[in-house]
Symmetry: C2
Subunit: 242 residues, 2 copies
């Protein structure tokens, strides 16, 4: 099947050119520097569960990576997220998670299973995106939570990924995925993550086959990743993509 890219008019703000497009119907957004992107890095941004391609944290990272690294950044709506319809399975997964959270019981296993299923659907979409973009520079991926599961799975599946910053993940099938990741990884965990038991996150770090891997852990819950980790990710990508 031939990939179809459909672009809208770009807009430019603060030196960052932003352009919406669809990739075989998947809504996407691309941020690029004013400069010629040839040979420059590309950073794929995979958003978290319940978020979308223009979530403020995604946009903030896109702008930082474009302006500070000269990178091109791209985000897709994950399956069942953003502008994309939910399947009956997606609806059931959302209902199961809500039910578990309402019960007050730990929901980590539901989250891990849901994210694994979504990651399996998202990875081929990201690979098709790479086919279509045909990047001339090194490619990195950033992702948190659902996006972390997608990013890690993509790094395991596609040799075009040179570095990954992923986090807020652990448990489920991710240990087996991590054992297939050999590119440099920065894994970020929240020390008091209500969805990722501490031991699961640490075991995931242990399982990564990457010779260069670095763990960043910070206090707080799943939604409390400190803002300064944007700069850590920038340093990591500067070291591994430029």
């Amino acid at each position: 099947m031939r990939t179809t890219l459909s672009f809208t008019e770009p807009t430019t703000a603060n030196g960052v050119c932003e352009q919406s497009f669809t990739l075989d119907g998947v809504p996407a957004v691309l941020w690029a520097p004013d400069a010629d992107p040839t040979g420059r890095p590309v950073v794929l941004l995979a958003h978290g569960g319940g978020q979308h391609k223009r979530h403020p944290g995604v946009v903030a990272r896109a702008h930082r990576f474009v302006t500070a690294l000269g990178a091109t950044a791209v985000a897709l709506d994950a399956p069942g997220h953003g502008e994309r319809p939910r399947t009956a399975d997606d609806e059931r997964a959302v209902a199961a998670l809500r039910e578990r959270m309402a019960s007050g019981e730990p929901a980590g296993d539901v989250v891990a299973a849901t994210n694994a299923g979504l990651a399996a659907r998202a990875v081929p979409e990201w690979r098709a995106l790479l086919d279509a973009l045909a990047p001339t520079g090194p490619v990195g991926v950033w992702g948190a939570s659902l996006g972390g599961a997608i990013g890690l799975s993509l790094a395991a599946a596609d040799p075009r990924i040179s570095a990954a910053v992923v986090g807020l993940i652990g448990g489920g099938p991710l240990g087996e995925v991590a054992a297939r990741v050999t590119v440099p990884v920065e894994l970020f965990l929240q020390w008091d993550d209500e969805f990722v038991p501490r031991a699961d996150g640490l075991a995931l770090f242990d399982a990564l086959a990457a010779p260069e891997k670095t763990l960043h852990a910070n206090p707080g819950g799943h939604g409390e990743l400190p803002r300064f980790e944007v700069e850590s990710a920038r340093l990591f990508f500067a070291r591994n993509l430029t």
Copy 2:
């Protein structure tokens, strides 16, 4: 007792002015920017066991913090290290460590106990240094292994310390020290540290009373801290001292 500072002539290289001095007989070195240091940060650099105030890793950090942060950096020889004589107790501690390492048994408890004793002697020297320097800007401390024990103890003991980057430590009395540290801390651990059991390092992170604390862990042994952690420390100090 009045503190006595004795300076030698400064030398300047790559925009960094270096000056040796002694503080009540303790050999020290100070690195300063060409610019007026008033109000600029001061970073105290505490070297590891068996090292000294001009160990290459210490000098590299000093230069980086001076040139990138506009900071003044200072290093002291730890008790029994560098140009300082060893006491009979120091000799016994060195012999005990050698004996344990030759036996092939884990030496972490010997290292932790020795470092705790040396830190107790070093902290008053660093506090006297702060009295003598009377810094006009915020003060941070960086230390690895023995220097980590010293840095953490100093951050617990002296309210003039605003931020600490310490690591390669855990076990012994440090958990109690950590519970008294409330300033921002970046703790770096080696995932396969032959002297610091992984659980001891993680327990130390847990014990830190600091609301802002961040853990960096990397694969490899005690002596294999990745060079890129210099830049992480720079980011941390930029965030917390400038």
